[in-house]
Subunit: 115 residues, 2 copies
DNA sequence: GGCTAACGTTAGTCATCACTGACGCAAGGA
DNA sequence: TCCTTGCGTCAGTGATGACTAACGTTAGCC
């Protein structure tokens, strides 16, 4: 039996986006200020191309919003995109706390199955 | 100027571990029950080798704990490992909310710099 | 000691991905 | 119209990673 859980394309995309340190750094920048792509790229030593691709990934993951102003593109973090991740972590966290509590109480997995 | 943020090896390892769907599925399993490696592997269609490697990654990321019982190795989720991720998300979330509020108030980035 | 069960580890393969330079494109100003 | 500025896109490359089969190791039973 294959267990893969519910289909979760959005969560997967968001977590894959956050798994890259440079994208987290970019997200931190635009979490504090709305910034144009050029200014974001200037904050890093990698090429402007690389930063542009990171911005595309973050945008597809719905972690940032893009707004156009002439030839400039302004980016900022998207709070609701992070909220979903909090939900995932909270669920895992409470579940794991339950297991910890049961183990302390001596109620092993086999006990619960036998009962 | 290169901006990479504070060194965050633990956060990085945890997020990289969670970026893989199979590892999230494994984590969900051991968040509900403490399970031996064989039983975890039986829940998936990939080889036992692959699951063992996933368990190693999750263990190194401090997202699960391992306990030995004879030849068996029992695994379960580690609540404190998830708490760190919650902290990261909370910080980003509140920062992005601040930016959203400032933009709504018409206090643009340029305004704050000029002022 | 010999055997089996339950796992981890190693070596090798294929796909993914972060990166670069070159190019394309839209929005102004002269 | 021509030129520049600000960015995204394309094609190619090296590194990472998820996977498999084969092998090594430890615990317990006979």
């Amino acid at each position: 039996m294959e267990v893969v859980g519910p289909s979760e394309p959005e969560l997967d995309e968001a977590l894959r986006a956050l798994a890259e340190p440079r994208r987290r750094a970019i997200l931190r920048l635009v979490a504090h200020d709305e910034l144009p792509a050029g200014e974001i790229a200037a904050a890093f030593e990698v090429s402007r191309t690389a930063v542009s691709q990171h911005l595309t990934v973050l945008k597809n993951a719905r972690l940032i919003d893009e707004r156009r102003d002439g030839t400039r593109r302004l980016y900022r973090a998207r709070p609701s995109g992070l909220a979903q991740l909090r939900g995932f972590l909270d669920e895992m966290w409470s579940s794991s706390l339950d297991v910890a509590r049961r183990l302390v109480e001596g109620d092993s997995q086999e006990d619960r199955r036998a009962g």
